[in-house]
Symmetry: C2
Subunit: 163 residues, 2 copies
DNA sequence: CCATAGTATTTCGGTACCGAACTATTCGGC
DNA sequence: GCCGAATAGTTCGGTACCGAAATACTATGG
């Protein structure tokens, strides 16, 4: 079987740390590599659409809530600080992708709305998303892919339970 | 089968984007969640040892090279900018964890050396690493774990080939 | 050997982020 | 109804990062 970068990584580290479990380490490190790979490809794609990753992520979260949300909701969805969200919305408002209005019902709150131009920008970048995911996971058969998804669910449930 | 956070995520997004492949999306999103989960647990652990994540990562890279390396090597290993590495080494030198000396052979170069105190700090934090990885992957049998590692290798090889 | 090109590292200017302090508004108990 | 506690959002001070310019040195071609 051909070696990947993680096999090399493991060989190197086993010399320094003989005690680590090679299979556990291999699984964790491969997931880290795959996630980073997809993130990089995504960032390159977004750059073509003149998007910073955080700008796209914010529009994506807003679109996921139907184009209307409060800063708090977006802050929670993206797990960033409230201060960071203020900065992101300032920039997106500047570019005309979102609109902020004080809520009439509760004047502490702000309603963030995706503009037409914001939605158009999001969709155009979205349409090329997922291509790389399909490409790399396409090496697996449909059955293998489903098995993989189910195996990862079992692991994630343990992770979530330990929070 | 019990639902995890990703099942909920998928249900929510399929309403907005009917075209996405649920199995591909499930695998990718679960890997992202697992990697983030492990990163968070690790950061919490490191905080107990008064380590910022980037400080530990730098010592770890240095230890992985036997305790001696140049800033360029560490920069490449961690894929950060050279400027960032200068800042990290400044901080680590301040805390007495590394020592910088001008290389005698090539005076442009700097030799970074892990001090005794630096190695001790690294080892103490290292000893509790991997516990969470073992815990969540412990739900799989040894055979399932090996299968998972091999499946991910196949996927990662495709990712690496596409660079 | 000298000029030029190349390399290793640091410095500089600017950005996104976080936690904490602050402002404006609403809620809850008396 | 009023006052203190709670909540939504923004502002502020500080940090780690990046890309580019600067610095210091080494290699190379004539």
């Amino acid at each position: 079987m051909t070696q990947d970068a993680v096999d090399a990584h493991l060989t190197r580290w086993r010399a320094v740390l003989p005690d680590l479990d090679p299979d556990v380490e291999a699984v964790v490190t491969r997931m880290e590599h795959l996630v980073r790979h997809l993130r990089r490809v995504k960032e390159r794609t977004l750059a073509e659409y003149r998007f910073a990753p955080y700008e796209y992520a914010t529009l994506h979260a807003l679109a996921g809530r139907g184009g209307n949300a409060t800063p708090s909701e977006l802050t929670a969805d993206l797990t960033i600080s409230a201060a960071a969200m203020t900065g992101r919305l300032d920039a997106l408002e500047q570019r005309g992708y979102v609109r902020r209005t004080h809520s009439a019902a509760d004047r502490r709150r702000v309603d963030v709305e995706l503009t037409e131009s914001g939605r158009a920008a999001w969709v155009s970048a979205l349409n090329v998303q997922g291509v790389e995911e399909q490409r790399i996971l396409g090496v697996l058969s449909e059955g293998e892919l489903v098995d993989l998804a189910n195996t990862l669910r079992r692991v994630l449930l343990v992770a979530e339970a330990g929070e």
